[in-house]
Symmetry: C2
Subunit: 439 residues, 2 copies
Amino acid sequence: MKNEIVKPSILPGFMELLPADQIEFNKLADTIRKTYESFGFMPIDTPVIEKSEILLAKGGGETEKQIYRFSKGSNDLSLRFDLTVPLARYVAQNSNSLTFPFRRYQIGKVYRGERNQKGRFREFYQCDIDIVGSNNLSILNDAEIPSIIYSIFNNLGFEDFTIKINNRKILNGFFESLGIEDKSDVLRIIDKIDKIGVVIATQELLTSGLSKGVIDNILEFINARGSNEDILLFLKNLDISNSTFKDGLCELSTVSKYVKLFGVPDKNFKIDLKISRGLDYYTGTVYETFLNEYPSIGSVCSGGRYDNLAEYYTKQKLPGVGISIGLTRLFYQLNEVGFFKNDTNSCITKVLVIPFDNNVIDYAISFAKSLRDKGIVTEIYLEDTKIVKKLGYANKLGIPYTILIGDEEIQNKTVKVKNMVTGNQETANLDEAYKMVNI
Amino acid sequence: MKNEIVKPSILPGFMELLPADQIEFNKLADTIRKTYESFGFMPIDTPVIEKSEILLAKGGGETEKQIYRFSKGSNDLSLRFDLTVPLARYVAQNSNSLTFPFRRYQIGKVYRGERNQKGRFREFYQCDIDIVGSNNLSILNDAEIPSIIYSIFNNLGFEDFTIKINNRKILNGFFESLGIEDKSDVLRIIDKIDKIGVVIATQELLTSGLSKGVIDNILEFINARGSNEDILLFLKNLDISNSTFKDGLCELSTVSKYVKLFGVPDKNFKIDLKISRGLDYYTGTVYETFLNEYPSIGSVCSGGRYDNLAEYYTKQKLPGVGISIGLTRLFYQLNEVGFFKNDTNSCITKVLVIPFDNNVIDYAISFAKSLRDKGIVTEIYLEDTKIVKKLGYANKLGIPYTILIGDEEIQNKTVKVKNMVTGNQETANLDEAYKMVNI
């Protein structure tokens, strides 16, 4: 039977990794998952395909254009474009079975048919946590979130990163105090000011109908500098009577105080009045996180507080606070800047047992099993080929140790343990071999 | 703003779990993953969406009817219906970058628009391993596979299960020796004989054109009983000269011998000439696995040897051997038969720190952090509510320990550790508390 060969390829905008990279990717995901779990978040796993009426209940905006939507039989289906809408549906659907505050994490793929460009993916992992209350949720949760972000990036091996925080109520209250009506437009422009620059932002604000004086006020406000205490004092001294502003300042002060108690060092936590988050469902605290050594990456972890998670699916009021890490993009960017070393650390297998020939394979199999039973990730080379090819296999995969077994070793009930990095080779029995590779 | 409420629901045929069940599900997945890794398998993660021309390169059969296929822009897209076709595409696409034999695992969701019925899912996890050689792959790999299956079900806590093995060449060679031309039809009927029974199978075989005498021959053959050695001897004594049969017998004898060396106990490994696997790409060894305590579940892990993985995508010959576990179905069935206990084991959080009121929250936060830093999964209850509600939260989630903190505890620099299962309550300092909960 002869087949037509279909050229093997994947769709543009989809990320697929070779195993060594996949191992590094999985390490990131595992660290994030373990950290989320260590703070008491529980896993959920929602379907990738949902009813279109669910995912598009809110409707409008870029979402609708980018969504993968199709039909199967009589069903109108869509692929989820984030993990927040499925969470809202999940909580509304299962509210009688859930215990509130509901702390859930979800790590999964989402789909957006975005314009194809470098570093943008149409299928990507989001790693989300949310704490969802029934009717109420203490502001203290907003203070715990930065400590989780801090643990994650600390556990991933970063030191120099900044969790930036702000409160939408402060921005909205301030804009109200200036008599601005369309606050969402202003928020949107402020949100991107670090990307587009002050000149273009000013132009856009002018276009949106603000006066030069008001714009100057806004620019001075969002650029407030100094320590967190300085900025809180600056806000207090503005003496704005707007109640939204006052609420926001009170919340930000509380969060700022407790973030310290939750163990976040001062150097990793900064109030920044420019942080506003484009998304319109945030209503209070907002977060963004930056790796200071890699400024080009942009925010690596963002989120915030919302008043009502699931208003499209239930009349129950479900306030919450959450964050999301775009893992696929984070991995891609870190890989681009050379963060991963791709050495023997990018290999899960610790030992490759190499029988010199098939006469000694029985002993090799049983030795490999003994090592594996002791908890060492051990692979055995089973193909009948030249020894140099067997060693080459270990080298190519970055396996740190090989264990060589020939007739002599069987007679002496030993093996030869070879460190593939240094080239050192030593004779050992099982226990000695175990100690040598269990580092 | 008032919204129309969309009734929150998911599509029929999709599995979605509450957190306690999800935790059990994840434990299964983690055990499978860890076991695969312990044998030197490397992770890959292919896109859920592929080009339709890739997934349908082989074409025909149920696959094409069940596939989720749609278009976006000018692209003809499909959701993967298994992990084998994406593996074939991946290996063909990356063959220059991969090291052979290529040992990969993949755990991911696949999609089949099957008829909606109990226990059948349209979105389900497969957990696959394959060992893919370039041009050749030693038969010893076929003997290692059962040891991996054994480790998995052993690690999952099962003892009484049987890995059944056969070899397609034996069946094909035997059918050839009987003068049967359409072997695939006979294989398909044999494959389901335990489900449909001998009477219906006989009828189907008659319909397919076989004579009563040939059918009796087949039934006697596939029902050969006795130890693995008995069956191998039975096959040898048939003295069939067909070369395919002889090859198959030689392979099965080798695999049977080495499976023992790989550490699989006799009681868990059984040659069964009825095992044939419906899928047409298997060419040698075939496996199925049964949990003997739960016969209704059917095979929980199946696979086999194939001559050529990626013939639709490359001219390179890529023989391999692999297995697949249908995790979603396995979880569903085990849950149905009451396998999971859903007690405090279904909770990741070990300790809930409960401040009596907001005056002691500072101490509670810092105590929770200290415990978490020592590796205990610790959550802190942050809502300002009655103590009975706080304890109720721990009870509902199955959190095994609470740590109660009030004014008295702060004065004495202690806490009260409460075992939520026994109700026992003891005063302790940090180190004592750590020892009490770290069991």
